[in-house]
């Protein structure tokens, strides 16, 4: 394979091995008021006053690195995709991240790679770029750097990825020209190549080092600047909250950063929660799953799917990879949109929110948390520390559905989550929750009551559908009419039933994969 030969000849390992890069990072004057990170192997020391600037603005306007494009500014098109070593000090993979949703203040100690770094001065290119070029996977070319970076992040593991996983990895990238076919071809070609390189590696004496492992991160600290604070411990956070009254908590930032850029939160001090290790814990113990509030959804989801395999489809279409790489469960809960995204699922899993204020904890059921549209129980200085979820029980059937105009990366019109425990065909416990059917995510308690204690059969479901019809008061908006939401809610109940009783596929996603 000529591509592989060339790849090996140009010794990408030298370019990308970040251990050497980290080592040659020039020593700089250390100060807590500047933000230090690495961009394409070069140390950056950025004035803390740029903390509220997006990485995209920094790249294009400050550094004149124009390979990273602005397509939408809301994390929906992927033209600004970059790779960042994201998940904490233990992790060594680059993740695809939208630069338009990333504040410079959240980059301390991170390593950022942009498209410019993948082509050297001799114009030799990373295998990802070569594959895209060989497959003619660009027309107008504006989205191409974004696809390059998503595939770059996927490259270390692409050899083992299914077609669907590849599409998922590209779900945050829009292309308006090609129809995606040549881009998918390029990704499949990379998958084949990766396999061949892996076998090459095992047979050759001189091992080829993969270019994509960032290696150990060099710790860097950014305490904050006017309008931006980044606490490193819960104690520090507590102290900050007593000093700053008008604050905006930012975790992944996927919801607030575009609004921040439009000037919505000019008066508020950003409190970055992403650097707090104490909020990023994730454990499965006894009968509970404990999720730190700022744990990225991608990590939360992998644990959830492990516990509840039927959640695979819900998780698959929940959001694009670059979004779930940074978005958090706590952020989702605190945003509290009527559709609710994960909230119906959390209701179904008996979620308990662990909230902290002034050093004191309180525990609140997710069912009691919301007061209305985007209104909830959190008081001033209070934040969510963790979310506790139930683990599966024996004889339990659990499903969650997301319904939207588009399969990938779309806000849902309706979310439905269902969980039942059967004892000898009788319903002994039941949870039914919806998003998009009221001004806030809701438990359908009357419908649950209608089913509890009954035999699990079609007539019980039909009766429950009747009750549900009376129980819901859906909203009407551009995502769906109230009538549609009502119909779908009832149909999801039926779908859940059919999925557990009928042998025929009920999912447009899964049925295709079975073939």
């Amino acid at each position: 394979m000529s591509l592989i030969d060339e790849w090996a000849r140009h010794r990408y390992k030298k370019r990308y091995s970040s251990r050497s890069k980290a080592g040659c990072m020039t020593p700089v004057k250390r100060s807590c008021s500047s933000i230090e990170f690495t961009l394409n192997g070069e140390a950056q020391v950025v004035d803390g006053r740029l903390a509220r600037t997006t990485l995209l603005e920094y790249l294009r306007e400050v550094r004149q690195k124009t390979g990273t494009k602005e397509g939408c500014g809301t994390g929906d098109c992927g033209a600004c995709m970059v790779a960042i070593d994201e998940l904490g000090d233990d992790c060594s993979d680059y993740l695809a991240v939208n630069a338009c949703l990333r504040l410079v203040g959240s980059l301390a100690g991170r390593r950022v790679v942009t498209v410019e770094h993948l082509t050297d001065s001799q114009s030799s290119q990373h295998p990802v770029q070569r594959a895209l070029a060989d497959c003619h996977a660009a027309q107008c070319g504006f989205c191409t750097p974004g696809f390059v970076m998503s595939l770059f992040a996927l490259w270390p593991s692409i050899g083992t990825r299914s077609d669907d996983e590849i599409q998922h990895a590209l779900s945050g990238n829009l292309c308006r020209c090609t129809g995606y076919r040549p881009i998918l071809d390029a990704a499949r070609r990379l998958r084949t190549m990766a396999g061949e390189i892996a076998s090459l590696e095992s047979s050759e004496s001189a091992p080829i080092q993969f270019p994509t492992r960032p290696g150990r991160r060099r710790p860097a600290r950014f305490a904050g600047a006017p309008g931006f604070v980044a606490p490193r411990s819960l104690r520090e956070l507590q102290a900050l909250l007593t000093r700053h009254s008008n604050v905006l908590f930012v975790a992944g930032g996927t919801d607030v950063v575009p609004r921040l850029r439009d000037g919505e939160f000019d008066e508020r001090t950003i409190v970055l929660l992403g650097e707090l290790g104490a909020l990023r814990r994730l454990s499965v113990k006894g009968d509970r799953i404990v999720v730190g509030a700022t744990t990225p959804l991608s990590k939360v989801f992998s644990v959830l799917v492990n516990e509840y395999p039927p959640l695979a489809e819900f998780v698959r279409r929940f959001a694009s990879v670059p979004i779930t790489n940074v978005a958090t469960l706590g952020g989702n809960v605190a945003t509290g949109s009527p559709v609710g995204d994960t909230i119906p699922l959390l209701m179904c899993l008996d979620a308990v929110l662990v909230m902290r204020r002034d050093g004191r904890r309180r525990r609140v059921s997710i069912d009691d948390f919301y007061l209305g549209s985007r209104r909830h129980l959190l008081r001033s200085r209070e934040f969510i520390e963790a979310i506790e979820l139930a683990r599966p029980q024996p004889r339990e059937f659990m499903r969650a559905y997301k319904v939207a105009k588009r399969f990938e990366q779309d806000t849902s019109s309706v979310v439905g989550a269902f969980r039942v425990v059967l004892d000898d065909g009788r319903i002994t416990a039941i949870r039914i929750a919806f998003g998009g059917l009221a001004d806030r995510p809701m438990r359908a308690r009357r419908t649950e009551d209608r089913l509890l204690g009954r035999t699990w059969n079609r007539s019980a479901i039909d009766a429950a559908r009747q009750t549900l019809d009376e129980e819901v008061h859906p909203i009407s908006d551009h995502r769906g009419t109230a009538q549609y939401r009502r119909d779908v809610a009832k149909n999801l109940l039926l779908k859940w039933y059919l999925e557990l009783t009928d042998d025929k596929p009920t999912s447009i996603w899964r049925q295709g994969m079975a073939q």
Binding site: T66, C72, A138, D163, G179, R406
Partner: protein, 767 residues
């Protein structure tokens, strides 16, 4: 070229190295769909930090208008505003943030007037943009009355946002002696030149427009880019400094026009054999607040209601409606995809009514030999290959077998239903405004034998530059790597038409070939006289010029010719022959030729949620003798998926006061890679060449395949209908909401799903 894209080194307008002292502009827009501006207090805007200039209607030295056809598009509204997003004023400041921040400080008082927002209201109120056009052939009323079978209905077809990944952007740079250089993302540099000059009170020769490349256009930068270039230019004139205007995505959605949405009311009379006896169509389209290109768009629609079918007795009435929404504009296909979808929708219901296979019904209506070979506008269809295309596709896609498999699947599946549909396309190539069918090119050969070619076309991903370079290389018999195409520039090729109408390779390719040939002839004459042979005996191939068995390297010949003082630069010009069209009577030969294609789409529909998935597509496309099959395949696939998006997930929603709610890719959903079907077979037929003398006998391919997406829409209808034989009232886009509504309607009407168990999904969705 492609390496530049993958490396991120390709420079778009916004990527140009920063100019020192460059300023940034932002636009203040109307908050109401229809209102009189009672008062406007911009003092806080003027004094905001970083602001250097404020521009309103009063600050336009020339004509306050950017309308491409009619002068009805003010750059800045001054009295009445007519859509939410209409430009009212602009700010020039020392940073993007300062400019955008200052805009928010404006205080404008409106006297709100009653808006007309949609087609139905505009029809009821008689708000016509221009007189309606009526085309009649035969005796539609009589034939309709006597037809054995009848069908009537209404089809609503939604619009479409271009969502070019690169948003609108323009830079204006003041140069010496009052002149201006504009660098902007436009499909029509010559028009930007004309309109900028007109707005600034300059002459055309004072303004130079360059377009490095487009990050997507799709028609959205054919006329819509002018406003932004004009504002940047006015800002540059006001401040004497370079000004950049780049929209954010929400403003881009709000300000710019979209594909026209249509309401089609139809009456069809037909026989039991499925042959149409008569067809009456009332076509009503929403044009928005001004003319823009709406007349031409509706004309092209009018010329495509036949698609591939002979309409013996036909009446088409075309209403063009003025509304208080953004002025709708060109979008790939230019009205034709809407018309093609309409006739395919009708034939689909005809087939269902007579219980025949839809392809059989289509075949019975195809254009064939005289007299069934003349369109309703009087042009003979001479190059018809649709029958052969459909025959081959029916075989290669296993259409009939898959229809049966889908039925079998549907009989045993309660939640998921399959649908299969085949649709053909016949698409006319040429601008219907005949004068636009011209092009110029400039070819320069340098003394080392390398070549630069410039032409009036803009590169926007469609591969135009690559095709033209290939044409020039072929004329000189040299490797294509020796030819460098250069960005569109009004200084190099003046008075060019827009890069549009799928005709740019035809037009610019021919013009460039002519320019190259002029130089080649000079070289041949020179060589013939030097080697004492005849110019006709000289052949250019393999990087050499051959005379008998002897040859000279092309580069050496060029160097010698230079020494001999032979001109190595030439312009070329081309105008499309044969075409003529009278829009007032809708007769003539508007098209040089037709492009044909056919597609089979297979979908799965979830009848519990209305969600759909495109499972498989088979396309057979005529591209004449393709100049570059890889480029053409890219155009076919990209256009097809763009069309599929238009007809499924891409929904434009306005609220009650006329605000576009789906105003960004977070709410407006174009296809992702998941939406490309897992199984596909896209092929360009190898047996056809253009009957007309086009460049290399190729055909235009940019637009025609978007209409193939009608197959996706009809496949969804097929899945919804199942064995039902009544018409399926499905409107486009077939969003989950729309699909579930149609599922309910069919179930309630037919009760075809029988016993309670099997109705499950269907009837209970109504309970």
């Amino acid at each position: 070229m492609i390496k530049m894209f993958t490396s991120g080194r390709a420079l778009y307008v916004d990527d140009a190295p920063r100019m020192s002292g460059m300023l940034h502009a932002a636009i203040g827009t109307s908050a109401h769909a229809h209102a009189r501006i009672a008062s406007m207090d911009l003092s806080a805007v003027r004094t905001a930090p970083g602001v250097l200039a404020l521009l309103t209607a009063a600050d336009v030295p020339g004509l306050n208008d950017h309308g491409p056809v009619e002068a009805d598009d003010p750059i800045f509204a001054s009295d009445v505003v007519e859509y939410i997003g209409q430009s009212v004023f602009a700010v020039v400041a020392d940073s993007v943030a300062a400019a955008r921040g200052a805009v928010a400080l404006a205080s404008i008082e409106y006297e709100v007037l009653d808006p007309t927002l949609d087609i139905d209201t505009a029809l009821a109120r008689g708000r016509f943009l221009s007189p309606s056009v009526r085309v009649v052939r035969g005796d539609p009323a009589g034939a309709l009355a006597h037809a054995p079978r009848h069908l009537s209905g209404t089809l609503r077809i939604g619009g479409q946002e271009h969502l070019y990944l690169e948003g609108q952007v323009a830079i204006a740079i003041p140069e010496e002696d009052e002149s201006l250089r504009i660098v902007c993302s436009t499909q029509h540099p010559s028009e930007v030149q004309r309109l900028v000059a007109r707005a600034c009170g300059l002459k055309a020769h004072d303004v130079r427009v360059e377009c490095p490349r487009l990050g997507g256009g799709f028609g959205g930068k054919e006329t819509q880019a002018s406003l932004f270039a004009c504002i940047a230019a006015l800002g540059a004139r006001a401040t004497g400094r370079a000004v950049k205007l780049r929209l954010n995505r929400r403003q881009d959605f709000a300000i710019t026009g979209k594909r026209h949405d249509f309401r089609i009311d139809y009456q069809a009379g037909f026989g039991d054999d499925g042959r149409l006896h008569a067809l009456k169509i009332i076509s009503s389209s929403r044009c928005g607040r001004s003319a823009d290109l709406s007349i031409a768009v509706n004309t092209r629609a009018l010329l495509h209601f036949d698609n591939a079918y002979y309409l013996e007795n036909v009446e088409i009435v075309s209403h063009r409606l003025r509304t208080h929404t953004a002025s709708n504009t060109a979008f790939r296909g230019f009205g034709a995809p809407q018309a093609i979808l309409a006739i395919e929708h009708v034939l689909d219901d005809v087939a269902r009514a007579v219980a025949l296979d839809p392809v059989t019904v289509r075949r019975r209506n195809f254009y064939s030999s005289a007299p069934r070979d003349t369109t309703h506008y009087g042009m003979k269809v001479e190059d018809n290959v649709v029958e052969r295309l459909v025959d081959e596709l029916e075989q290669s896609s296993r259409y009939q077998a898959r229809r049966k498999e889908a039925s079998a699947f549907n009989a045993t599946h309660r939640v998921l239903k399959r649908g299969v549909a085949l649709t053909p396309v016949k698409f006319g190539i040429s601008f219907t405004q005949t004068h636009l069918n011209q092009a110029g090119a400039l070819v320069n050969v340098y003394t080392d034998g390398t070549v630069r070619v410039n032409h009036g076309g803009v590169e926007m991903g469609q591969g135009l530059h690559a095709k033209v370079a290939r044409v020039v290389a072929a004329e000189f018999g040299i490797d294509v790597a020796q030819v460098r195409p250069t960005p569109a520039d009004t200084d190099k090729v003046p008075n060019a038409p827009p890069t549009a109408a799928s005709a740019s390779s035809d037009l610019n390719g021919k013009a460039a070939a002519q320019a190259a040939r002029a130089i080649r002839d000079r070289l041949a004459n020179y060589l013939a006289s030097r080697e004492d042979t005849s110019p006709a005996a000289i052949e250019f191939r393999d990087d050499r010029a051959w005379y008998g068995n002897d040859s000279v390297r092309f580069a050496d010949l060029v160097a010698d010719a230079y020494q001999a003082r032979i001109s190595l630069s030439a312009t070329g010009f081309y105008r499309t022959p044969l075409v003529h069209f009278d829009p007032s009577t809708c007769t003539g030969r508007p098209f040089f030729y037709f492009v044909y294609g056919a597609a089979v789409a297979e979908v799965t529909v979830d009848v519990l949620t209305g969600e759909t998935r495109l499972e498989r597509v088979d396309i057979l496309q005529d591209a004449g003798r393709s100049i570059d099959p890889t480029i053409d395949q890219g155009q076919i696939e990209g256009a097809f998926l763009q069309g599929a998006g238009w007809l499924t997930s891409e929904e434009l929603v306005w609220d009650d006061v006329g605000r576009l709610v789906t105003d960004g890719p977070d709410r407006y959903k174009i296809p992702t890679s998941f939406d490309w079907p897992r199984t596909f077979d896209v092929r360009i037929v190898d047996w056809n060449e253009n009957a007309q003398d086009t460049i290399f006998r190729s055909k235009g391919i940019g637009e025609p395949p978007i209409a193939l997406a009608a197959a996706v829409f009809l496949a969804i209808k097929d899945a919804i209908a199942g064995p039902s034989c009544g018409p399926v009232a499905l409107h486009a886009p077939a969003t989950p909401v729309e699909v579930l509504r149609a599922v309910r309607a069919v179930a309630e009407r037919d009760r075809i799903w029988g016993d309670n168990e099997r109705t499950g999904a269907q009837t209970e969705s109504s309970g």
